[in-house]
Amino acid sequence: MTMLRIRNLGVRFGGVVALHGVSLDLNRGEILGLIGPNGAGKTTLFNCISGVIAPNEGTIHFEGRSLRFAPPHERARRGIARTFQNLQLWGSMTVLENLELPIDAIARRNTLSDALGLPFSHYAERAASERARAILHALGLGRYRDRLAADLPAGIQRRVELGRALAMRPKLVLLDEPAAGLDAGETEQLAKLLHKVRERFRVSMLLVDHDMSLVMRVCDYIYVLDFGKVLSRGEPPVVRNDQKVIAAYLGEPTPELVEASPTVPEPVITTTIPDAPQLPRTDAVEVAGETGTLLEVTGMAAGYAHLEVIRDIDLTVQAGEVVACIGANGAGKTTTLRAISGVIRPRAGRVTFGGHDITGARPEHIARLGLAHIPEGRGLFPRLSVEDTLRLAVDAAGKPERLEAAYDVFPRLKQRCRQAVGTLSGGEQQMVAMARAILTQPRLLMIDEMSQGLAPTIVCQLFQMIDVFRQQGTAVLLVEQFVESALAVADRAYIFEHGSIVHEAPAEELRRDRGLISGSYLGSAPDSTEAIEVAANGNGHHRVLDPELMEILSMRVPAEVKRALEERAEREGRSAGALALELLEEVNHTQ
């Protein structure tokens, strides 16, 4: 039976089309996956379903009733719960309170009786607290019960968010990136947990995640969004092998590559790369005298607040080399660049650049040594003109470079030198960012997501620029979503997965062996379910949902008995469910 029916949903933000003609059906009891590259509209769709934004067109029906005029809290009462990509726990409340709130928000409690502490409120309070405790135990969060939510590590916060959504007794749970920041083992645990949650709580789920291994394992059916439209849909194996999906994630394969690649039969789409404009190349192209290792990173770890994003990163860049970092979103590529350039402080390991130890040095100091970093989103000042932006870079670097040098490389910028950077097209903005970087005469240029949001032709030109940099002796470290193009220009590549480097190989080799890369992006099929069982049970530091416990907790047992049971189970390091069953057995025997 169709539980959630979406028809022709359209959302526009100003001139930007976020969703267009999206239709989707979710059946009762199903786990539906929603995947797609950045900016495909996944979170926008979530926001439409939960009522945070109103769609411009289209309809959403939940259990046969339209949600059109239902505000978010009304939708929550009808049984739609959600989690958030950027965690939205109530930080100044304890974990227990975070779970109690949705329980009694649904119950429409009375403010006056709450303030007076009347018996009615008292009982409702007890009931909410009991249920919240039961859910916390079921998710293995019992020991965090009285902590403030803001003080918890992000991984735990994500689980609390799941618990909070379940506390509402929902019929449908929208999960937005539940695996973000989890390592491979924890992701395995999560996959098992979601299946058990579906069984025990009888909920349907809509799951957005960039971690394909999770989506492919957990979901019954998958929708792929790209540029606000449904690109493809089907069961996991179908989607995994869909050429359109692979193209959307990896960039479209170049024709000569397709011939060389045995794993990709008959490309559905072939791209024609337009003739690249003749780039001004100085005849005196000579590889700078510098040789040897320019950048060396050993055992680096870094992260934000309580979240460790990358660990054990070993990475080198030789002088004049182009190196690509590839891997799924959230694999830790951007964090690696930021830790190298000093934007964030590495927590462990060593970074040396051109013989200097720059571990934990200030970013401006690192920049002066000749390491330029173009961040994701380019880091431009939208109201400054092109000329002012470039002048600023020259002044800051203190190097007597003429702006003409940059205009020679990017003639288009010469025409637009008086224009505010914010009014330029995306490709031109990227050119400004690159021009600004090369004016500081860097020895190493790090570019994060250069092609993000750009049309293929522009991307092609930009990649040719990287080739030019190489010929001029500048080393380049690239983080790129368009894997094909990145590998075409790079000498070597590192593959990131879950915050570590899992593979390092010459670019040529990777281009030939597409299976290796698409595995890291789309998740490889589980080799054997047995192995996963073992992995999940073997590292038992996470307590997964315990069916027996749920059974016991739903029985009419006095609260004191329950609590005593839970405490004893915690002491003995066993599951409360097993303990309770054992005790019941004993009682039966003695009788």
Binding site: H73, A76, S92, P102, E308
Partner: protein, 346 residues
Amino acid sequence: MMPGHIVRFAIAIVAFAILARLPVGLDPAFQFDAALAVIWGFGILSLVLLTGYAGQVSLCQATFAGVAAYGAGMTVAGMHGGYLLGIIIGVLAATVLGVIVGLPALRLHGITLAIVTLGIALVFDKYVFQDHIFDWFTGGTGGWQVTQASLFGIPVDSSKHLLTAYDVMLALFGMVAVLMVNLHQSGAGRRFRAIRDSELAASTMGVNLARYKLLAFALSASIAGMGGSFYPRIAGSVSPQPFWVFTSLQLAAIGVLMGVRYVPAAALGGLFMAVVPDVLTRYGHGTFMNRFNYDISYDWFQLAVGVLLVLQLILLPDGVWGDIRAKALRAWDVVRMKPREEVRPA
């Protein structure tokens, strides 16, 4: 009642017994300060609910108090009603204004909401409290003169029975304070706090944002109004000056200074706001060691609040009460030798 309720009730009674004794035997000027302290205590208490619990900003709490003061004055002096009726009408008037001010808060946040409420405070100060069109409400330039009043048959007029009025107000303050602590620990309080921490999460988890924001404003205005409606009685008349814009700002500043998330901070803040300026103006001038003449005026109080606020934000970010409480709790843990829990990194 839960054990927590009984404990809170007991604490309130003990606090009442102590505080009620404090001004006995002092000269009338200090007794007036004590009564004024309760009025401003209500003002800051209203901010504890609105800002501390629900996370909304308001710079017009003194306006709510002022509207209630005029409402009470009008009922008693203008319409010759009883004082109980005066309080009820005053609080109702403040509550209505609170709901009206709450309407823009459904859309606005933070600094814009602060500016809007500041505008409301300015408008009421200049064009309601001081304008002839509203003479029926404000009693004209002279204001309402409340010479005698009684509550439940007890005479509570300002000149002779100031301390009786103080006791009545203190008892009411204690009750409201206990109710507010109850609220904080209960479902409704959690909903307010959820709005403060994340409106997005609150609405998608079933909290009716419009309802609870308006409720916060209405309750807050009525609490501020409770204090304000006693003003005509203890001062003997109503004038615009105590309820002008600057008082609202001062309430907000002192609320933050003392710890806007905590109910006891309201009592501290009220005392500070009423007593310190009076002490400064009375004892602030003279000669130090027979050599140096000094003259500290009321202006110094404003300066002191500003400086203290800066120091507090650096040294005691959770307010005077909040940080002292946290330190006391930690000390108590040390005394009991309870191990500190470690947050496990991810």
